[in-house]
């Protein structure tokens, strides 16, 4: 039986009909885009199983830009890689965090051995002697000894490593400060006793990683005498708790526990880092149970996951700072009164509550308030006070509103959100703010060329606990390249020098000088600390052993599978 013919409908014809259909389809695209935003985007199977017992799957934003710290691969992934595969002479022991029963934190004022078994301090406080563990093997199977320690610092100081810059002021010249006593003993000598604690603080962090000299020398070439480039692409050149077993660029990296790790083979036997570029998708995978750990999440997503069954978030005080830096060479921030006015024009509480969903802490001063004998006299608490800001601007004699531009990187969405908050509230405080969002490379370029007015970014001071380090990190003396704000004050450097000269950096005598330095810094106000962001990583329920570290990455060597 023939099918009935369709009614004779005149089909649309001609270019207009074609165009109309096309453009309607184009119009629907955005809706599809929103719908697709919920897709995985990981490139992996959303339904694939995650951890089973001692295997753990971590959702990360990217693979490291390089595998060697000395080749300057910045970012979370590079730091975590260094911690997974590297080991230092000493480290800060982990202790229970005061503000979160499910989290550990570092005791920043104590040290325990990793590759060193113990250390002694000479009576004059100038020489630190480290007794190295015997019988430790590298990931390549080479025995660990004093030559590895000396070689490591020789390489750090003879490559493009950032270690020399961030080891100041304690370490200036390892060639003269670091000595081999015997195969299993080395000593560090500092110029003043006041550099002793900063020395321990800096060598206990990831920049103090010790390398396998034998392996690297095997791969050294005339063009690459310390095998920095070789190690940057091959990895596994240290004594850390994990060995990288598989590297798929842009997709995932696998690690196996190192049975030779001096502090014992980690409980998690296998770690798979799966690359999921979008933070929201990482959070979604964790919610779906497809990964065990998700890192570098948006604070709003972490806040939303807090209290969710099956997930663990952590509320620990951190050194993950949201910073504002002002360029002090050019208007309007060449006037300290204008910079001080900005301090009162930032809505701190609003930023903590709205941008970070309450998952950030206020900041007072530049130094760790938990430091022994810390003096906070005269340090201002964060306060949004538009009237005070207007008063300071009037005192400065500048017409209001004072226009300025905030620059942020489009790779850090919370900075953009902070900029919107500042812009919104700065109007009442006498400022007219524009926001400029740049790709990371252009953002970095602006810092180097000092062509910004105010730049916001989130970063950490890894040796936060060490006063001279923290004070000088952004304002190194006579180092124009690293001092992006160009702010310098002789009184500041005099106070820092006096603190170092006072002997023990953690002594009450030194603390008075640190406080003086902070007050000068506060008066200069080239930098404003807006918030300390709580951990942006989330664990699935059952995993134990999260510890906040000053490098803000996860130490998987202490994580346990739990139930």
């Amino acid at each position: 039986m023939p099918l009935p013919s369709r009614p004779d409908r005149r089909p649309p014809s001609g270019p207009a009909a074609y165009r109309s259909g096309t453009v309607v389809l184009l119009g629907v695209l955005p809706l599809l885009l929103v719908a697709c935003a919920g897709s995985d985007g990981s490139g992996g199977s959303a339904g694939s199983p995650s951890s089973t017992g001692d295997v753990l799957v971590e959702a990360v934003a990217a693979v490291p830009g390089g595998l060697a710290f000395d080749s300057k691969p910045g970012g979370y992934e590079a730091f975590e890689y260094t911690l997974l595969t590297g080991a230092t002479l000493i480290r800060n022991p982990y202790v229970q965090a005061e503000d979160d029963p499910n989290a550990l934190t570092q005791d920043l004022y104590d040290f325990e051995g990793v590759l060193a078994e113990s250390y002694d301090v000479s009576e004059d406080g100038l020489t630190y002697t480290f007794h190295l563990r015997e019988g430790v093997l590298s990931q390549a199977g080479n025995p660990f000894d004093a030559d590895d320690v000396l070689y490591s610092y020789e390489r750090k100081w003879n490559s493009t490593s950032i270690a020399p810059a961030i080891s100041l002021p304690a370490i200036t010249d390892p060639a003269t400060q670091l000595r081999k006593i015997d195969d299993h003993t080395v000593s560090w000598t500092v110029a003043e006793a006041g550099h002793g604690f900063p020395l321990l603080a800096v060598i206990s962090k990831i920049s103090g990683e010790i390398y396998d000299k034998e392996l690297l020398e095997e791969h050294a070439t005339a063009a690459d005498p310390y095998a920095v480039e070789w190690s940057n692409t091959n990895g596994n050149f240290g004594f850390g708790p994990y060995v990288m077993t598989d590297y798929q660029d842009g997709q995932q990296i696998s690690f196996e526990a190192n049975p030779e790790y001096p502090l014992g083979e980690p409980a998690i036997k296998r770690i798979i880092q799966r690359v999921v570029p979008d933070a929201a998708n990482r959070a979604q995978l964790l919610r779906a149970g497809d990964v065990d750990v998700a890192v570098q999440l948006r604070a709003a997503d972490v806040a939303a996951m807090t209290g969710t069954e099956g997930l663990q978030t952590f509320s620990v005080d951190t050194n993950n700072f949201a910073w504002a830096f002002m360029q002090t060479r050019t208007p309007p921030f060449d006037d300290p009164l204008v910079r001080q006015a900005v301090f009162y024009a930032i809505p701190y509480e609003q930023i903590i509550e709205q941008v970070y969903g309450g998952r950030a802490n206020p900041v007072v001063g530049l130094l760790n308030p938990e430091a022994p004998h810390h003096v906070a006299d005269g340090l201002l608490e964060q306060e949004y006070d538009p009237q005070r800001s207007l008063g300071l601007l009037e005192q400065a004699g500048v017409p209001t509103p004072v226009p300025y531009t905030i620059t942020v990187s489009n790779a850090v969405p919370d900075m953009e959100a902070i900029a919107v908050q500042i812009q919104s509230f700065a109007g009442d405080a006498g400022f007219d703010v524009d926001i400029e969002v740049l790709p990371p490379a252009a953002f970095q370029e602006q810092a180097l060329t000092k062509t910004f007015q105010m730049r916001l970014y989130r970063d950490m001071s890894v040796s936060y606990e060490s006063p001279p380090y923290s004070l000088l990190l952004a304002f190194p003396e006579d180092n124009e390249e690293r001092n992006s704000t160009s702010w310098e004050d002789p009184r500041f450097y005099e106070a820092v020098a006096a603190g170092v000269a006072a002997g023990d950096a953690l002594s009450p005598e030194a603390a008075v000088h640190w406080n003086r330095a902070e007050l000068v810094w506060q008066e200069g106000r080239a930098q404003i600390q807006m918030a300390k962001v709580q951990p942006l990583m989330v664990f699935r329920e059952g995993l134990k052993g999260f510890a906040h570290r000053t490098d803000n990455v996860i130490d998987f060597s202490i994580v346990e599978p739990g139930s």
């Binding site: 955005p30 919107v420 926001i435």
Partner: protein, 287 residues
């Protein structure tokens, strides 16, 4: 992006029926959107660039479309963005068509010549083909990364990027028109080449580009939004649909759907409404 082609009305096509009143309803949605663009910014419940409430408040009585992750009112922003998005699209369409007319006529009238002028015209034609082969969003990304994201930059950048669509159309029409006998007659009558081009060739060649403006308009809205989505659009907190979509998409994944859905819907409606209106206007024009 491929250009659409049009069919030139055949000789002897029926005269326009000016009494035809059916189909005008198709213009209404775009007129409403245009009205929103003109008067909407004066009727907003909140300042679209200021934080007015807590972040991520769901749609409700105080905030009809909710608030975004910064605490900006989504309804006010969607309405305020209408003006900017339509203005950019309108200016891009005009500018792209002007560029298209100028360059298309230059190429069409000269590409068959001998000598340097013909060579230049043919080279320009290949250059246009090359520019047309690169996706608009990629070109936009590069250009805006260099010159910064401001409304004038985006307009000029998109106009240049989208002009090859019009250039190719007009060139094709010029090739057809320049073979017409009346041009030869005009030449014989002593009409100069410039006058010939602008008095006779141009008016008879641009109708295809005029009909194609609906595509350019829609594509420019989409590309503006796409540039915002990939993070090189207007700086925050400028209300612009693409940028709103971009910043709202991560929230949508976490279940806070409103900050991306409403600008996405506005974008779809605007493009759809313009397409509908343009098809009706052009249908009438052809009759």
């Amino acid at each position: 992006m491929s250009a659409s082609t049009v069919t030139v009305p055949a000789v002897g096509a029926p005269a326009r029926d000016r009494t035809d009143r059916t189909g005008w309803w198709k213009v209404v949605p775009f007129v409403v959107i245009a009205l929103v663009a003109v008067v909407g910014p004066f009727l907003l419940p909140y300042d679209p660039t200021r934080v007015v409430a807590s972040a991520s408040v769901p749609p409700g009585g105080d905030h009809w479309f909710g608030t975004d992750s910064a605490g900006l009112d989504v309804f006010s922003r969607v309405v305020a963005a209408t003006r900017l998005n339509l203005l950019i699209a309108g200016l891009v369409t005009v500018l792209a068509t002007l560029i298209g007319a100028l360059v298309g006529i230059l190429i069409g009238m000269n590409e068959s010549r001998r000598g340097p002028l013909g060579l230049a015209a043919r080279g320009l034609s290949r250059l246009v083909d090359l520019a047309d082969a690169v996706p608009a969003i990629v070109l936009g990304l590069v250009v805006i990364s260099f010159f910064g994201a401001t409304a004038p930059t985006i307009v000029v950048c998109l106009a240049v990027i989208l002009s090859p669509i019009q250039i190719r159309l007009i060139r094709t029409e010029v090739l057809r028109v320049r073979a017409e006998a009346y041009l030869d007659a005009a030449r014989i009558a002593g009409v100069g080449e410039a006058r010939l081009t602008f008095r006779h060739v141009m008016p008879n060649s641009v109708s295809a580009a005029w009909e194609n403006t609906s595509v350019v308009f829609a594509v420019s809205i989409i590309v503006t939004a796409a540039l915002g989505f990939v993070g090189v659009g207007m700086p925050p907190p400028t209300p612009e649909w693409g940028a709103m979509l971009s910043r709202g998409a991560p929230d949508a994944v976490a279940g806070r759907w409103w900050s991306a859905t409403f600008p996405a819907a506005a974008l779809a409606l605007a493009v759809g409404a313009f397409a509908l209106a343009a098809s009706e206007v052009l249908r009438r024009r052809r009759r």
